[in-house]
Symmetry: C2
Amino acid sequence: MSLTSAATLATLDKTGPRRITDLAVAEGVTQPAMTVLVRVMEESGLVERKGDSSDKRVTLVCLTEAGASYVRTRRQAGVNAYARLIDELTGDEVAALAAALPALLHLAELDSHAREKSDR
Amino acid sequence: MSLTSAATLATLDKTGPRRITDLAVAEGVTQPAMTVLVRVMEESGLVERKGDSSDKRVTLVCLTEAGASYVRTRRQAGVNAYARLIDELTGDEVAALAAALPALLHLAELDSHAREKSDR
DNA sequence: GAACATGCATAACGAACTTATATAGAACTG
DNA sequence: CAGTTCTATATAAGTTCGTTATGCATGTTC
């Protein structure tokens, strides 16, 4: 599974059904790339396409139950991997990390905004 | 410039001349991939090949001055980008980050070791 | 010194993108 | 309300960066 596929599934999980162009912008790839990606993920049963009734050009991409389950599994694997590493830190280090968490989240948010601007 | 190229230059800068197989392992790619990468970087004037006198099979890859300068420029750009983001944090957040720095470095080190093991 | 091991190179192929362009539906315009 | 124009997606061809398989020259071993 490509990095972009996983990120797209996570985005769908976080924000609900989206149109293809939308997803392409969100993941920073071109629309044709996202079209192909969605086809592949559909063939794997991770997403479904639903036509929009009010605009017959758009196809809404939705997570299937299998897709949602995949996202959960992957997220859990990431959490576990980090947990294993953090277990090897000293108590002081863990405390320092915990204290820095709000700052790190803020940094991540600022970074994603900066990325959006420079992408356009 | 590909991510792997930049990482390879950084490795050469950090550890000095290396043989191609070595670099491939360090960057987690195959030897043929590194062979091609080195050729491209050589054509761009960023590295030089030097034969090893004690073993005529090996080619030692060395940073040229242009390559070293490229590494410095890129590193500085990264520092600047982070500095710009950190400037937007509150004083408390910056302090928390600074306090967590040793823990973060330790985490990064643990992570790279874990990666080495799972790569093999 | 013959057989095997090692370091690098080359070839052929695949995955994940890109740009350019086609097509069908929506929206605007005189 | 027919014709242009815009928008959402699809398809095609080409690029980049990797892979596996294999060849070739040099080293190592018994």
